[in-house]
């Protein structure tokens, strides 16, 4: 039985195909349309997923990742509670609902017809948080687990605690709009001058530079937090229920002035606010997790929802030891809702059996997107006259490791594209973590993003404990762990007074490019089983240098979706100061390429996030 899961019309549209409960393909629409967090119907992602599954069999059902009418009810109820305020928000939202969102089945049928696919007879609509919870539990290695979803908002729920047992999933508790951990974090993201729904990572990355000066203020005035992690927000400070901004003037007064404007210098205030809201978020998540353990009695925890991408909080949660182990859906945001929606219908609604082995998850390393065979890549390179060298399976890792050791930065494009916001080695930019200048170089000359942002290490799974205080795999780069004490260079004590760039450039360990200012790192462990090629590259680097780590950052520039096709990769390679590009078995040196001529300013192609 083939089920197509779809998330669409809000942000980060995606499609997923499952066949008899097995994940065949999943991809975000942004990768194909090249529009970051594209919210339109994921026509191209659907087309790809159906092609991956074979077009010879019809679809048995389409599963949309939430209940549109319940969501509409929540929105209208909110207006009923704030009118006559809220007019601008109402005028912006209502036409879209009347035109599209209230007619989801018809929209999907039309869109499927548009790509030549017959719509199935059955449409399913699980709840938004049920989709998130299912995306966390069903692909996890656990047969039984507590499930925590922490998100912006779905229909009414903003966070839920569920229990998963075998093929059944039940929501036990929920927090309701407008009290939302996701919206709380986004409000501070907005206030510190970053873009809501994409700048949350930046706020998290900025937090270690700050002091928790505002933590008490937030807990006293902005939210009321209970021991069980439940909380209510003081809506006098927020604008999202009755306006178009996340925070209001009263909020600005409380935090000493207006919100930072985008691209203006980051001051001590923003750093301290980032640190404070990160602390508050961690308190909330820990409280929720303890409560989940208490009411479910389960030993394992599964996490999903946008806030589950907060890998600092995830790392703390793991170290707190509330649960024996945790598993986080790599596509924890709304894109993953497409996967969860399809899985919840297969298991929960249709009552099909599920057996987990307690060790391996069902995500296939999150490599669920398209791949491009070598023959096709070679045709493309030859057609355009791009210079290349063909590598063999035997020398692939060694050759690339040598280039990294020489200080080169490589764009890596091979195998199936990752599903979710993280590049896990198949659509990645890689470099040498030992170089103290690499963080600044890669941020400013290759990614064109803020210099304070840290990079993540991709480390051989078996060698991870040599570098980090972590005792288990982190294949999806969703856990932050401290760098081992003996590798650290102690802080000098004057860091708080340094300009941000100087602080960033000061070495903090013998792997400085991936060590954040608080000696932490967002670890990805790489194994032979899920990514043999990437693993071979790191092994070769280890044999050559004694370091089983490379820098791994997503293959894109600021504001651009991660590259999908070899053509996207080549374009990004030529626009930036990357030294080499790897397309499957082909190695391209920048010096061997014809002149790259673009008339338009390509930086204006992508809105800055």
């Amino acid at each position: 039985m083939r089920l197509l899961g779809i998330s669409a019309y809000y942000h980060d549209s995606a499609a997923c195909l499952i066949d008899d409960g097995n994940i065949v393909a999943a991809a975000q629409e942004e990768r194909f349309t090249r529009i970051k967090q594209d919210h339109s119907f994921p026509a191209r992602a659907v087309k790809y997923c159906l092609a991956e599954g074979g077009l010879d069999r019809p679809l048995d059902g389409v599963v949309f990742y939430d209940k549109p009418l319940l969501k509409f009810h929540r929105i209208m109820e909110t207006y009923l509670n704030v009118a006559p305020k809220g007019l601008t928000s109402y005028l912006k939202a209502t036409p879209l609902w009347l035109r599209k969102k209230l007619w989801i089945p018809a929209e999907i049928e039309d869109a499927l017809k548009g790509i030549g696919v017959d719509a199935p007879a059955k449409f399913y609509f699980p709840e938004h948080h049920e989709s998130h919870a299912a995306s966390a539990f069903y692909p996890s290695p656990f047969q039984e687990a507590a499930i925590l979803t922490v998100d912006g908002v779905g229909e009414w729920a903003t966070s839920t605690i569920s229990v998963g047992e075998g093929n059944k999933l039940n929501i036990l508790r929920e927090l309701r709009f407008p009290h939302s951990i996701g919206l709380l974090y986004s409000a501070f993201t907005y206030f510190t001058g970053f873009r809501v729904n994409s700048g949350e990572y930046k706020l998290m990355g900025l937090a270690p530079y700050g002091r928790p000066e505002y933590t008490d203020l937030i807990l006293d005035k902005v939210i009321e937090l209970k021991d069980d992690g439940s909380f209510r927000m003081n809506m006098e400070y927020f604008g999202y229920a009755d306006g178009l901004t996340m925070t209001n003037d009263k909020f600005a007064d409380l935090f000493g002035g207006p919100a930072r404007t985008a691209e203006s210098p980051i001051t001590r205030r923003e750093m301290d606010i980032a640190r404070s809201i990160q602390d508050v978020t961690e308190k909330i998540v820990m409280g929720m997790a303890r409560h989940a353990r208490e009411i479910t009695g389960k030993r394992f925890l599964c996490l999903a929802g946008g806030v589950a991408l907060n890998c600092v909080a995830n790392g703390k949660l793991l170290r707190e030891g509330i649960f024996d182990d945790i598993w986080i859906q790599p596509a924890a945001g709304d894109a993953g809702g497409a996967l969860g929606a399809a899985l919840t219908v297969w298991f929960n609604a249709l009552d099909n059996p599920r057996q987990a082995d307690g060790v391996n998850d069902f995500m296939q390393g999150a490599y669920l997107g398209p791949e491009f065979p070598d023959e096709l890549v070679e045709e493309y390179l030859t057609k355009h006259g791009y210079g290349f060298e063909k590598l063999t399976d035997d020398n692939w890792g060694e050759r690339l490791a040598g280039l990294i050791d020489e200080g080169n930065v490589l764009g890596l494009h091979h195998g199936r594209m990752e599903f979710g916001p993280r590049a896990l080695g198949n659509r990645s930019i890689v470099g040498d973590p030992r170089s103290p200048k690499m963080q600044s170089v890669m941020n400013l000359k290759i990614k064109y993003r803020e210099s304070f942002r840290p990079f993540a290490p991709a480390c051989l799974a078996e060698r991870a404990p040599d570098y980090f205080e972590i005792d288990r795999a982190s294949p999806y780069m969703l856990l932050v762990a401290p760098v081992k004490e003996d590798r650290r260079i102690p802080l000098q004590g004057d860091e708080d007074d340094l300009p941000l760039v100087e602080w960033v450039n000061r070495p903090r360990s013998d792997i400085p490019a991936i060590t954040h200012v608080d000696h932490s790192a967002r670890v990805q462990t790489v194994s032979d089983k899920t990514n043999p090629r990437f693993s071979a590259l790191i092994k070769a680097f280890y044999q050559r240098t004694g370091f089983a780590i490379v820098i791994n950052t997503s293959f894109n520039v600021r504001g651009e979706p991660i590259v999908c096709t070899p053509e996207d990769a080549y374009r990004c390679f030529m626009r930036t100061e990357m030294d080499y590009l790897v397309l499957g078995s082909y190695l391209l040196a920048k010096t061997a390429q014809p002149d790259w001529d673009e008339n338009a300013d390509w930086r204006s192609e992508f809105a800055l996030d």
Binding site: P68, Y79, L80, N81, S230, P370, E379, Y380
Partner: protein
Amino acid sequence: MVEAVLKQEEELMSTQQERFPVAATAWDFAKSTQDDKSGGVANRKRLIALFQLIIGASIGFAIFHYWSQTLAYVVWGIAGTTGLVAFISPLGAYRYIEKAVGGLGWLLGTIMGVLLLVPLYFLFFAPIRLFSRGGKKNAIFAKPQTDSFWVTREVNTESRSTYETQY
């Protein structure tokens, strides 16, 4: 010469789709260049403009016979100019006309939306808030005195049919 190149690219495209059906779905590098070179996009634009010209001319005739000759000349003038631009520069100047028409449509839609939705907001939403609920704080914004803000959900005994509803 051009035809030979196009034929070669067409063959490349079809074999590409046959050999790599999945990859070709995600990335059809021959298609975009072939489409532009063969004038596929331009010809489609011209066809659309031809239909628009026919419709414009018909409306003009109707206006000429039943209403105003002057207005009919204006309609024919607009339809003729648009058609001519589409045939001469389907991917250049005609795109600007398309954009302008699209922008005008968006503007009219927005104005109509505001005209219809604003009265509804003030005649329906605001009175309910102010009178039915007495203008007081409501369930969404209330601050209940409680030990926990978690809301308990009934254990899910939903049947398959519940998943088939949008509410």
